[in-house]
């Protein structure tokens, strides 16, 4: 079927990132909420004559920006954004949990790594009360002892007393860590966004492919967390750079995928 001359689009598409170094595909984001490219330039005008009207316009400063918004946080995408590789392996994380005593004892869920950070009795209103420290619970009323995961509190501690325990624990080996560092920034990639377009005349669907030969991640990005409203989204903003071998900032190819050779 002939590729349409007029078409409609209502699709965020799927974005695929390719390495500029060796061309390999890095990641595909199939859960975009929005995508788009904005193109700008600057025009300066020669003015003159009676009324100082614009006479000649000089265009320059061509810029294009690709904006993607993903409903899902992809570790690889976040890593591209930060410029740091994902590290897979054991990581020490902060844990805090509330434990309840029975016969002066209570156990934390995980095996603490190193010293417990803090132990507080939990007040009736849920806030932290008196701090308990490591020591001799048999003789001191605000001390505890620890054996692996089990904390022993003074004998006078009533059953059902709640303590909030802060400590470190190790993740399993599959934990993935992405981080922002002061010395690494988002890289540059070729980006291809596959979208669906519909022919105005025949109402038939066609493929569209938005190609950014060289997209550089912007270094400003936000990670927003909120307890209300829509779920948080991953915003990926890229500046379209000029290739050293081409003037193309971006291009859109509309084609019939049934006619691919």
């Amino acid at each position: 079927m002939a590729t349409p001359n007029r078409w409609a689009i209502r699709d965020a598409g799927e974005a695929t990132f390719f390495s500029l170094v060796d061309g390999h595909a890095v990641v595909t984001l199939p859960s975009l909420k929005t995508s788009g490219v904005s193109t700008t330039g600057t025009t300066v005008y020669s003015r003159g004559g009676r009324g100082n009207a614009k006479i000649v316009g000089f265009s320059s400063d061509r810029e294009a920006k690709l904006k993607l918004q993903d409903a899902i946080f992809d570790n690889t995408a976040v890593a591209m954004l930060t410029g740091n590789d994902i590290v897979t392996g054991v990581h020490k994380v902060d844990i805090h949990e509330i434990i309840t005593t029975t016969s002066d004892k209570a156990s934390v869920t995980n095996t603490p790594v190193g010293a417990l950070i803090s132990v507080y009795v939990v007040n009736a209103d849920g806030t932290n009360g008196t701090e308990y420290t490591l020591g001799t619970p048999a003789t001191n009323p605000t001390e505890f002892s620890l054996a692996t995961k089990e904390l022993t509190f003074p004998a006078a501690t009533a059953d059902g007393t709640k303590f909030r325990v802060y400590y470190y624990a190790n993740t399993d080996a599959t934990a993935k860590t992405v981080k922002v560092t002061s010395d690494m920034f988002g890289g540059s990639f070729k980006v291809v966004v596959d979208v669906l377009v519909v022919d105005e005349y025949t109402k038939a669907a066609f493929q569209g492919q938005l190609i950014i030969p060289n997209g550089k991640f912007e270094d400003n990005f936000e990670l927003s967390l909120a307890a209300t409203g829509d779920p948080s989204v991953l915003d990926l903003n890229l500046e379209c750079l000029k290739s050293p071998t081409s003037t193309t900032m971006w291009e859109l190819v509309v084609y019939d995928d049934a006619l691919l050779s």
Binding site: S118, E131, T133, L134, G135, T136, N140
Partner: protein
């Protein structure tokens, strides 16, 4: 023979004599009757003895180090017992 056994018991008793050592610990939080110290990364309380004067207590400042007597081994934090603070 009996005499020898008794002597061995005496030697054992001498070996178990508690050795009090002292070192500096950082004050993390000063309370009315005690101070929470950083002992090998753990938070442990040293209690003020009644003979400690207010002037001496005023010398205990968060973030500063104080010398505290203890028994046990610093390499095994669970063996440490901080002694009541009688002087500073």
């Amino acid at each position: 023979m009996e005499e020898e056994i008794k002597l061995e018991n005496i030697v054992d008793t001498i070996e178990e004599t508690i050795i009090v050592k002292s070192t500096e610990f950082k004050v993390l939080k000063k309370e009315d009757t005690a101070a929470i110290l950083n002992v090998c990364g753990w938070r442990m309380r040293v209690y003020f003895d009644d003979i400690l004067t207010d002037e001496q207590k005023n010398k205990i400042i968060n973030g500063k180090c104080i010398t505290v007597e203890y028994v046990g081994n610093l390499e095994d934090v669970f063996s440490i017992e901080l002694q009541r603070l009688t002087n500073i």
